[in-house]
Symmetry: C2
Subunit: 337 residues, 2 copies
DNA sequence: TTGAAAGCGCTAACAG
DNA sequence: CTGTTAGCGCTTTCAA
């Protein structure tokens, strides 16, 4: 029964008129007589005709596809952002093609090349943690294809981007600790070449200075962003002669790594030590006590990124802009004495 | 500087030969002289030529796109499956277009229609929880387009599918409880029109009978698959004259809902009550004590679904098959007395 | 060994 | 008001 998609030609021959008449009738061209228009549209509906997007694409040189590259699409953070992008894209009749860089520069470069080959009309991406130079983005910039970066961004003078206020996030956490009466506030930082990490570390120090606490280097430890390594960093903190009474992780992973180390150490939260970090509601409320956390507006990040994308698609000559979204501190049991 | 993608025509005119010569040279056609072939390929490489997939698609009537429909792409479970599908698709030079049905039949039907309009070569999907009839799948079946269902499946006599052994999952949990010495084993079930729920409930009863425990109806409660409702169901269990000493949730959500209710009730796990359910490693190890859980081979589900898809694409007349993947019980602290 | 021409499905300029 | 034609980028017969 295998029936193929039908074409204008099929409709035309069935109605014994020319293809162009059918084409015009379908888009209500004023040149076509009302009766003909009605007849054509009726048949099209009956036969369930839909135009072939490949033919249209070839003609108009547009694929209606947006390439999306993320370090990893399984993480809640990124999948939620993707969902935001998809939401906007769908409204505009665009589709997205998702590729994962797995945080590898090499893979990221391949993704860009592949997407370009598929003739996507542009790319929305978050850089891999390995990416420090941007030769692979050149072709996009040269061809003036819309490019929007989010979360992990770069070249902000050339490329539009969406970020969250990372510095504010950690500053808010540290101030919150202080207001709750904690005075020995530690920070588990991460790979310092990442802009995001730098910002969050800055926010921590900013708050420490702001409230007039001593700037103690030993309360600032680093990890390589794995749970394992964050747990080790936490253990180092706990072994200090005067261990901290509050700790903030630099990322989702770092925070939960710290949490595990604290549990293993047998300390009670939030009495002996307070914990806070980055997590969505679901994860924050899964642990006991519930985790005080910074909530990222992931869906909005995606939505904004897509919005910037279409802005640029429609107006390629406009200056790049950066949208900074605010995060939200949600105090929960892990830091309420 | 906006340079467009170049075409065979561009190469041809630069070399002052015909388009067809270039076309043939690029695919090492034997008719073309070795020198010409070399010259053409050298230029193509230098100019970074890549064929226009739209033109190819139009010609061959294939888009190299697979539609993927999931109830929700943010959940770890589905995003991980998608990642498995994508992995295989990429290997074969295919792209996937992801749509979310948000567990709505109406949306699901729209997704199918949209994807069909885009001329995807087939669809891989998990049905929405509302979907009980399948008129929207007719066009796919009629046109003999490859269709593969996973997790939530139907029409298995007409359509290939990938499922996990749900009955075994809950059976394993209940047997595990029994082996650990628990005797009052409860089950929080869910919307009973779902095949998956039925299977899991069956597995529970099967184990109860197998070990010779009394089949107590009051240990079998239902929820509507939200955390809230699962927590309420759990509270109902706890209010029984003889409350259970072990409980298994029918799903990820139900399990964590139960867990919360137990915590609120102040019971200690695993001494006063054991808990087990469905969760990936990350979530199972986030809670204390770590949760005994059934681990789903999500990536493999995606991989298998894609494999079946391509099998069908290459051999449309073959009989539909069903792949049943095994789950893995990972015992952790929440059920070890 | 190479080129010319048709055709995949569609639109739009140009004729009639 | 409707039809003819060219062309988007590519492959593939058929001719030379």
């Amino acid at each position: 029964m295998k029936k193929k998609h039908l074409s204008l030609k099929d409709l035309a021959s069935e109605l014994k008129v020319s293809i162009s008449t059918v084409s015009r009738a379908l888009k209500n061209h004023p040149d076509i007589s009302p009766e003909m228009t009605k007849k054509v549209q009726a048949l099209a509906r009956k036969r369930n005709y839909t135009p072939n997007p490949l033919a249209m694409g070839l003609l108009r040189q547009q694929t209606k596809m947006i390439g999306v590259i993320v370090p990893d699409m399984v993480t809640q953070f990124f999948s939620s952002i993707i969902s935001g992008i998809e939401h906007v894209a769908k409204q505009r009749g665009y589709y997205i093609i998702i590729s994962s860089s797995y945080d590898s520069f090499q893979k990221e470069r391949e993704c860009v090349e592949n997407l370009l080959q598929t003739r996507v009309e542009g790319i929305i991406m978050s850089l891999s943690s390995e990416t420090k130079n941007f030769p692979h983005l050149r072709p996009l910039i040269d061809r003036e294809l819309p490019l929007v970066l989010f979360d992990r961004v770069a070249l902000t003078d050339k490329v539009s981007s969406v970020v969250v206020n990372d510095r504010e996030s950690t500053r808010k956490i540290a101030l919150h600790f202080y207001n709750q009466g904690y005075r020995r506030i530690a920070f588990i930082s991460g790979a310092s070449h990442l802009q995001m990490v730098k910002e969050r570390a800055n926010g921590y120090w900013e708050a420490i200075r702001e409230v007039g606490l001593p700037e103690k280097k030993e309360y600032f430890v680093e990890c390589n962003m794995t749970q394992q390594s964050a747990a080790q960093a936490m253990m180092k903190l706990l072994r200090l002669p005067e261990p901290p009474d509050a700790v903030c992780g630099v990322s989702h992973t770092a925070t939960f790594g710290a949490l595990k180390a604290i549990r293993n150490g047998g300390l009670t939260i939030p009495n002996e030590i307070a914990v806070a970090g980055f997590a969505d509601q679901f994860h924050a409320e899964l642990v006991t006590p519930n985790l005080t956390s910074i909530h990222h507006p992931t869906f909005e990040i995606g939505r904004e990124a897509a919005r910037l994308f279409f802005e640029r698609l429609e107006n390629p000559s406009e200056m790049p802009v950066q949208v900074v979204l605010n995060t939200q501190l949600v105090p929960r049991g892990s830091s309420l004495k």
